[in-house]
Symmetry: C2
Subunit: 340 residues, 2 copies
């Protein structure tokens, strides 16, 4: 089969790779209907995350079940499924508490590579959620978004306790940040402030439910959020970047007693204990337990209440994956969808 | 009046200081019935916190109202009152949300110095809570504990979401850590693990409700907590020290999705973003909004359901305050009560 392999920073190739096979009796093989490039794929692409050897890429996916292992009981070939970037058993104590991304048996999909024609999904019963029948083609991008960016933005908004009566600020205007805006809106937030200076992203933020746009960053961005919130800071802040600047900006934009949800993968971030202490904010984040939200998100998508697929502003055949990486790296595209 | 002044690290003196007077119409003057030495007083005493000039000391207090300013409406001379170490208006939006320690008009009592015969309490209506009548003398230490260590330990336990069905671990065996054990018990925790190797403190932890004692620290302490919790970590961890080691130990002792409440005043702590990210813990802490809990804590004390005053294992007349500092510094006393 064809699949994406990153050989070195900037060197994305689509190559013949061995067809995946059932290894564990709990595995399923899916034919990938759509995959995509994640903001987090850009860390190794840019050389910020070290690459020891050529790596199969991709951890977001929707597709059709081709084959299931002997112990898979809830899925059958022909079903259209959505899964998260962490394979999880969905039965251990940590999964049952809603943290499938820390399942005691978890497997990171990124190590398997879903930017490909087929993919092996470990712990299929726990990981995959089938849609009700085959979805209309125009819903596929939104279902693919649920696999990571929507689920991650949703977790960020939940961690920030976005809800009725709350002012929510979102730091980061990538696909995850934009999905956090959509999530905050769905969760009933009263006011949603997007921090972005990039016109197409600002437009999409407004479509997703943003009520205010802030272009300032760093200390000026914090001052602007304070200005918009009676000097107090936002009740809820979602951080969707992962840098020292964005984390600092997010903490300082949150009012005392408020909640900050951070979902940008941390890179070289160090938080001073005294700043955290005196801020009195609630901090929660990490790799999103997307699996927890999938049934609800699939419902919202299939009933056409939300359209997170709009974050895909570039669609390419799998063989042109390199162009997708480049466009996202140069911020010409918000997110690239790949069709095998 | 007589009052404690710290002149330099290790140099505690009890001196004649000017009697406090009403300055703002919202002030009250109280005659201090009992004050005490706080673990946080040891930071400047040990020279870890810089001291620019001789400083009046103390921020914990109970006492009898002597005089009130013209705008004080809820208090009158003769009432016995308990207050927190932050004076707060208790009416601003932040106070109403339960974060009186971040009141937009807050005043830090430490700058006024309550280790003295009298004290000026700013924002008296918001800050002070009167007991129902004059309390029995044997209740005074417990009411004094409510002023800070109990309220702080309580906040730590609430921030860690201690409650029914939860396993709670407490890092730190000072008065705050011990009060966090008491709080976890009151909040209904199923299992309470105290980390301490100091015999008298271990005994008091057991009296306050600890079910397990762990002597190991650092990585070994974390391993022991994991061992006691099926490899997962505690649901709730209270950090009551404020050092890099204790914060790290607390984060690593918390299971994914669990809650860590940190109330030790942070000193030279730096938290790596990626550790926080991948831990998936909830983090909340800071200067405790003790005022929020005072009515409930006073009820529990006056009805003799809890006896947090047991943390005072040394009582001295105010004039011998220096001995109290020394005993706490050398860990010969858990907490020293001073009677003016």
């Amino acid at each position: 089969m064809r699949g994406v392999v990153l050989h070195a920073p900037g060197d994305v190739r689509v190559e013949d790779r061995p067809d995946p096979k059932i290894i564990e009796p709990t595995d399923a093989i899916i034919r990938v209907s759509a995959a995509c490039v994640c903001g987090s794929d850009l860390w190794p692409y840019r050389g910020i995350e070290k690459l020891d050897r050529p790596a199969p890429m991709g951890h977001e996916y929707v597709g059709v079940v081709e084959e299931v292992g002997s112990q898979v009981t809830t899925l059958k070939p022909g079903q259209f499924v959505v899964g998260s970037f962490w394979a999880s058993d969905n039965t251990c104590e940590i999964c049952r508490s809603g943290y499938q991304s820390a399942c005691i048996h978890r497997v990171l999909m990124g190590t398997l590579g879903t930017q490909a024609e087929y993919a092996r999904i470990p712990l299929a019963d726990g990981t995959l959620v089938a849609t009700p029948g085959l979805p209309d083609a125009d819903l596929v991008p939104s279902l693919l978004a649920a696999s990571d960016v929507l689920g991650t933005g949703w977790f960020g908004a939940v961690a920030a306790q976005a809800g009725p009566g709350k002012t929510v600020a979102v730091v980061g205007d990538g696909a995850v940040g934009l999905c956090a805006v959509l999530a905050a809106k769905q969760l009933g937030a009263e006011r949603i402030i997007t921090m972005s200076r990039h016109e197409p992203r600002r437009q999409l933020a407004l479509e997703f439910g943003a009520t205010d746009l802030v272009t300032e960053r760093g200390d000026e961005g914090v001052a602007r959020i304070k200005e918009l919130t009676g000097g107090l800071g936002a009740h809820s802040v979602v951080e969707a970047v992962g840098t020292q600047e964005s984390m600092t900006q997010a903490i300082r934009s949150t009012r005392p007693g408020g909640h900050m949800g951070f979902v940008g993968v941390s890179h070289d971030v160090s938080l001073p204990g005294d700043e955290l202490f005196f801020s009195l904010v609630h901090l929660h984040g990490g790799p999103a337990p997307v699996r927890q939200y999938l049934p609800e998100l699939i419902d919202l998508i299939v009933s056409r209440e939300i359209d997170p697929g709009k974050v895909f502003d570039l669609t390419l055949p799998l063989d042109r994956a390199a162009e997708g990486y480049q466009a996202m790296d140069e911020r010409r595209a918000i997110k690239a969808l790949l069709t095998p």
